[in-house]
């Protein structure tokens, strides 16, 4: 059996003065190259979980008390020399892009982390071109970071962590400020990262996108893991914090006896299923 990219067991965190644990005996494993979507309502512990996995908790100042075991490709997190060493394997993109843009120009922002790591300039240029292409930010490279829109900032932040080539990327709501096209762009980039062997954990409220792009989902509530499994297993189970609207509709239709097929998780899947039911491709029915 191959080593898990991330293995977590008994992870418990309590913030000082809080009446309950932020994380309560959390345990799961993620395989290399897997995309794990993390779902849950506000306060479920999703961001705290990502901070633990990246070593921010307990290594950063003002960290809460933590116990439990986390290992990255078989190496326990406490064995890493410091946060900087952990980030060579694990890249974290936090929620607020504004505090993660620390340079004045986008190009400088993307290369800064690589310069800090002493990566040779030709390799910096190669990664810069790749990131610009993957995240569609080529036209932004010479813009000022403070003048970007919220969505552009978010893409630049994700790209700047991608440039560091971590083996695991932790993304905390990377599409919260993006429009549908931007969201799809980031999700496609996540798919490409996974194809290249990068393990991706993504906290996201856009369930329909997660259902399409994640290999597995992990549902959390009040610091606990409620369910882990394929998107279909989790979203159709009772622990799902929310469901894609299209799945809700299909389930209602099934209750009414109007839908026999497997309930779809996304709109494109619903269109395909409808075409199959009516034996007519969607494009053929277009009255135009």
């Amino acid at each position: 059996m191959s080593t898990a990219a991330l293995a977590v067991s008994g992870l418990t965190v309590r913030y000082e003065g809080a009446d309950r644990r932020a994380l309560d005996e959390v345990g799961f494993e993620v395989a290399p190259g897997e995309v794990l979507g993390i779902l849950g309502p506000t306060g479920a512990g999703k961001s705290t979980l990502l901070q633990c996995l990246s070593g921010v908790i307990p290594r950063h100042d003002d960290s809460p008390g933590m116990r439990g075991d986390i290992s990255v490709f078989g190496r326990p997190l406490p064995d890493f020399a410091g946060l900087s060493e952990i980030t060579e394997s694990v890249g974290l993109v936090m929620q607020d892009p504004e505090v993660q843009l620390v340079n004045t120009v986008v190009r400088e922002e993307l290369v800064w982390g690589m310069e800090n790591r002493g990566i040779p300039v030709p390799e910096i240029e190669r990664r810069l071109r790749r990131a610009a292409e993957l995240f569609d930010i080529g036209a932004l490279l010479d813009r000022f970071t403070h003048a970007l829109s919220g969505g552009e900032k978010q893409r630049v932040v994700v790209a700047s962590v991608f440039c560091l080539s971590p083996r695991i990327m932790l993304l905390d709501e990377p599409t919260s400020e993006l429009d549908p096209a931007g969201t799809e762009g980031v999700m496609e980039a996540i798919r490409v990262l996974a194809q290249e062997g990068v393990t991706v954990l993504v906290v996201e409220h856009k369930i329909e996108e997660l259902a399409v792009y994640a290999d597995r989902l992990l549902a959390m509530r009040q610091g606990r893991v409620e369910a882990v499994g394929t998107p279909r297993e989790v979203l159709m189970g009772s622990a799902a914090p929310d469901r894609p609207q299209v799945l809700d509709i299909a389930l209602r239709l099934r209750e009414e006896g109007l839908w026999d097929a497997e309930p779809p998780l996304s709109v494109p899947a619903a269109v395909t299923a409808w075409d199959a039911l009516t034996n007519a491709p969607h494009s053929d029915r277009n009255p135009a």
Binding site: V56, D62, S84, T87, L92, T104, G118, I124, S160
Partner: protein
């Protein structure tokens, strides 16, 4: 750019000049400004800086007109203060208070000095990219971690401006007349009211920024690479030489020419 002191990209001679040459120019201007209080030398120095910025960076007085609105009253206040506290023959008597001639000259001299240095810094900051400043400081021996902080400060200036604007707008939409008032005192009260939330926000933000920097390897001990490079070209050497010559001329003017006012400052 949202701030008047922030870098504005361009292709003028000063934009293209090496930051080290520009830092050297500033140092020379500072030396001349701080070694004389003679009003004629300071007027000449200010004229040189104003003309130099206009020719080499297309920065005309219109660009820093807003700053002049702040500097001119300051100069007048300084002059008035010196005129009252300094002794010597009076230039005029207002409401029974004698205004000293030497005090007026001293106040004008100090004001002129501030003005020359101020616009010199302004010219430097609008023509020099923050990362070029960091790189130049590093090249002259400042450890990168410290040199980087200069460029970092420039990054967060617009952020603070935006935060201040948001807070003032938030106060205005909740009915505060002070935040949108043109009256300086009322506006000042709004700014004081805004300071605490702005400070609290900055403290929280600074912790997150520090974490973000650490996550990207800022504190790594190993050698770092530099994607961009700078070169000290003949044009930069010419700039420094030209400024040194002008400085020498101004100092010669101070030592060789008689002071235009017998009780010059």
């Amino acid at each position: 750019m949202s701030g008047t002191m922030l870098y504005q990209p361009g292709k003028t001679f000063l934009h293209r000049a090496d930051a080290r040459a520009k830092i050297a120019t500033i140092l020379v201007v500072l030396v001349v400004a701080l070694t004389t209080t003679r009003i004629d030398v300071l007027v000449a120095l200010t004229a040189v800086v104003v003309v130099g910025l206009a020719l080499l960076a297309r920065i005309t007085p219109a660009s820093y007109a807003k700053a002049l609105l702040l500097i001119v009253p300051l100069v007048l206040l300084l002059t008035l203060l010196q005129a009252v506290v300094q002794g010597g023959p009076a230039i005029a008597t207002v409401a029974g208070v004698s205004l000293s001639r030497s005090g007026v000259l001293l106040g004008l001299g100090i004001g002129m000095r501030l003005f020359a240095m101020g616009i010199c810094f302004y010219g430097f900051s609008v023509t020099t990219s923050p990362s070029d400043i960091a790189l130049a400081l590093h090249k002259v021996g400042v450890p990168y971690k410290f040199a980087y902080l200069t460029s970092f400060a420039f990054r967060f200036l617009p952020l603070l401006q935006d935060e201040a604007r948001t807070l003032l707008t938030a106060m205005a939409v909740r009915g505060s007349a002070e935040s949108s008032s043109r009256h300086p005192l009322r506006r000042g009260r709004a700014i004081v009211r805004m300071l605490f939330p702005m400070l609290a926000g900055s403290m929280k933000r600074s912790s997150e920024i520090a974490l973000s920097m650490e996550l990207r390897g800022y504190s790594l001990p190993g050698p770092r690479t530099f994607y961009r490079s700078t070169a000290f070209r003949p044009g930069d050497a010419a700039l420094v030489a030209g400024v040194l010559l002008l400085a020498a001329g101004l100092l010669a003017m101070q030592w060789q020419l008689p002071a235009p006012f017998t009780e010059g400052a």
